[in-house]
């Protein structure tokens, strides 16, 4: 039986892992490869590396990081952050990334998704969406690391992305991110039940029960978190034992 996945996420800036709250106030959280290896040994099912560096050197740094990760880690990993072309993706896959995630560039240029799916297959194309609830009760897509709001409803963009060829959705709730108050269950459930592809829930995981909730009530296929793992607030083996104990399908 396919298991639910626990995915530590490492935000990378200038080659280091960083963590902030609501996309702000970044703190250093260590060497990404070292941290990633530790997670793999502890039973993480997958890793996500998101490069938030905003420089021209970025592409080179990211591909060499992918190469280092691939050499040291024997579980799958996704790389994202500023990916905007087929060439970007080719370089990352050649350097050992299993999947890549696209966000702002795909929103601004949707045919990019179709091109990537055609070239590399849907299975390695993750569409990352940052969503925030507005006063009208709807969730809207935000771009550029959450700094730019759009008038597009999250579900509409997710459906379009999947139609174009995205194989998975990485859904970050900007309202919950960094709060440790639990995942956005309503939003996650809407996408998980409304889309034919797996949905990774991200943002808000603060205790073990939150993970149980997002798998059961949110119907997520995977749950992603960062700081609670980086700062050892929740050990991955304890989390997986807890979830398995509740009867959730988990790889131990």
């Amino acid at each position: 039986m396919l298991t639910k996945r626990i995915i530590p996420c490492l935000d990378i800036q200038n080659g280091r892992t960083v963590k902030g709250t609501n996309f702000l106030n970044l703190r250093d959280a260590g060497d990404p490869v070292e941290l990633g290896s530790r997670y793999a040994q502890e039973g993480a099912d997958e890793l996500v590396f998101l490069d938030i560096t905003a420089t021209n050197e970025k592409r080179k740094t990211l591909s060499s990081l992918a190469r280092r990760i691939a050499h040291h880690i024997n579980i799958p990993f996704t790389v994202g952050g500023g990916i905007s072309s087929i060439k970007d993706v080719q370089v990352l896959l050649e350097n050992g990334a299993d999947k890549i995630s696209v966000n702002t560039a795909a929103f601004k240029n949707p045919p990019l998704i179709a091109g990537l799916a055609r070239e590399f297959g849907s299975q390695c194309i993750v569409l990352a969406i940052d969503a925030k609830k507005a006063g009208d009760g709807k969730y809207y897509v935000h771009l550029n690391g959450g700094r730019v709001a759009t008038e597009t409803v999250c579900m509409d963009w997710a459906k379009k992305g999947v139609d174009l060829g995205a194989g998975e959705i990485l859904l970050t709730s900007m309202d919950q991110d960094g709060t440790k108050k639990g995942f956005a269950l309503e939003l996650t459930r809407m996408l998980a039940l409304g889309l034919p592809v797996p949905v990774i829930a991200s943002g808000g995981g603060g205790n073990m029960q939150h993970f149980a909730d997002v798998f059961r009530e949110g119907c997520a296929d995977a749950a992603l978190a960062a700081s609670i793992f980086h700062f050892r607030e929740i050990p991955i083996p304890d989390l997986k034992e807890f979830l398995k104990g509740l009867g959730i399908s988990i790889r131990i």
Partner: protein, 173 residues
């Protein structure tokens, strides 16, 4: 062990073992092989060959992915998973699933129902060449073997200790 990444026919032909990995899409990959006449070359290899993921699928007769004629080594066709109306079966399958009915030296010292990592939207059916099965909606071939050709649908290189064990078994053939 020394590994070389190549599409050079002479290098492939003279290798002790050949790994035929796959991240990609079936028709693009088959076109690439045909342009370089690697399709004939692969079919005629005599050393142990291990196809991984798309590699396994390309070693089958045909793939529904963009209506692609494949290499025809394994007697199986490759079909798309049917995404259920209620979205209970997500396609592609992404994640850790178990392998069972293990019957080949490739799985020596690997426990029944070990977890391996899968990322795929298409699958090969079960038949005479099947050496391991996995369930996702239905039962399908997660491993195939015919003569010197082996294929696994999961990624052994990403399947932690279990995967390393399987790769080690292959290297020792």
């Amino acid at each position: 062990m020394e590994a070389t990444v190549t599409d050079d026919p002479s290098v492939i032909q003279s290798a002790d073992k050949v790994i035929f990995p796959g991240v990609g899409e079936a028709s693009t990959a088959m076109n690439y092989l045909r342009e370089r006449e690697l399709d004939h070359l692969i079919r005629n290899l005599k050393q142990p060959v291990l196809g991984i993921c798309l590699g396994l699928q390309l070693m089958c007769t045909y793939s529904e992915e963009n209506d692609t004629e494949c290499l025809g080594i394994f007697e199986e066709e490759v079909k798309k998973f049917n995404s259920a109306e209620d979205h209970t079966l997500k396609v592609p399958q992404i994640g850790w699933n178990t392998i069972y009915d293990l019957k080949d030296p490739l799985f020596r010292n690997v426990a029944e129902n070990s977890y391996c990592y899968f990322v795929h939207g298409f699958y090969a059916g079960s038949g005479i060449d099947t050496i391991s099965k996995t369930d996702y909606g239905e039962s399908y071939s997660s491993g195939l073997h015919k003569n010197n050709f082996y294929g696994v649908q999961f990624h052994p290189e990403k399947s932690a200790a279990t995967g390393e064990h399987i790769l080690k078994n292959f290297i020792q053939f």
